[in-house]
Symmetry: C2
Subunit: 235 residues, 2 copies
Amino acid sequence: MQKQFDDLLEDKFNIKFNDESLLDEAMTQASYVNEHPGQGLKFYERLEFLGDAVYQLVVSDYIFRRFPELPQGRLTRLRAAMVNEHSFSRFARECHFDKYIRLGKGEEKANARQRDSLLCDIFESFIGAVYLDQGMATVKHFCEIVIFPKLDEGWFDEFFDHKTELQEVVQEDGPVDLDYELVSEDGPDNDRKFKVAVKINGKEMGVGLGHSKKDAEQKAAKKALNELGVSTSIK
Amino acid sequence: MQKQFDDLLEDKFNIKFNDESLLDEAMTQASYVNEHPGQGLKFYERLEFLGDAVYQLVVSDYIFRRFPELPQGRLTRLRAAMVNEHSFSRFARECHFDKYIRLGKGEEKANARQRDSLLCDIFESFIGAVYLDQGMATVKHFCEIVIFPKLDEGWFDEFFDHKTELQEVVQEDGPVDLDYELVSEDGPDNDRKFKVAVKINGKEMGVGLGHSKKDAEQKAAKKALNELGVSTSIK
């Protein structure tokens, strides 16, 4: 099992731990330690604390340099979209971390292995372990493979608040009328579709389709941002 | 003015910027840029965004390594005490940053130079500028001079939640009775003094004196932690 994980990390991310016990710590839940007393095992929580700060900086540094014209408010919103429990759990699954978590029997039975909150913690503790064992450059390299390409693939779109973004952009030079109008709503109850138009000072700037009004509004706002030539970081 | 600031940074912190324009950016408020159009000036907000993440990591890394036995919850509370608007503004004043901020005339009149929230922003933007210009090692060195010694001097005590700390510590092995009792309250209205005792399962473990009940409770909790031999990170 351990050997498989080592191979995966080396093949996929070119990461080879010097201190394997750090990797073990990152992948071990307290429930497992409690069931194996006297072995000096450690669980992931301290590494999660550290990894959280490491990841925040790697993401901040990346978007700061990649989008040199993006003002603070928009950088902050973009970071919030990328530093997100749901994103983390998806990354953890994509990297197959779920297979290698060490859990106590009760937690295993309760299917904790597939719990988003646990996968999120493990993703951060893994980052913390890589940072301690290999340094910042390796964390950056890992993020360049796993995280940053997702920005261009639209992964973070659903966490990105295009409406707030649009409001900030259009009001830069003073107040404007920004309205969202429901154009149509149809389809059966279990597959309802909403069409929303966004208007700036009465002029339609984008139309969005979605399974909820909120979703359609976000998509309309995104279209308007594109229309306005605003280089959103999210495609 | 600029020269004075350069000398101060070099003398006190051994920091000499390669790119002076980054330091200018860190110390410049938007109001100043607005009053000097066409000069290509930048204001501090993007650097503040970056500096915030840099500082979080430097502090996290430091306390993670310094307190190898501290569990995640207590690390998180200690970090929260150290990453705090009020602390930041005190650091900024101690480093004399207030003298070197570039403000617009209106903001100068409104005495923004002494506003805690601005000093807090400037402290973070300065950290961001040092990180970009000099790298992480110089930020760490700066924190070793300015921030970390404060931990032992008790600077962060007032932001530290000893009551939560005590509750967590005493309940590690199961539920206990933890009570705070007001022992006395005296003195004139403008200089009222409160004395509070904390009892664990009925046994007095610490007494605290303060100008408010809350303050006295915090101090009692801190005494109890010492009494229990808990190595609080704050002296």
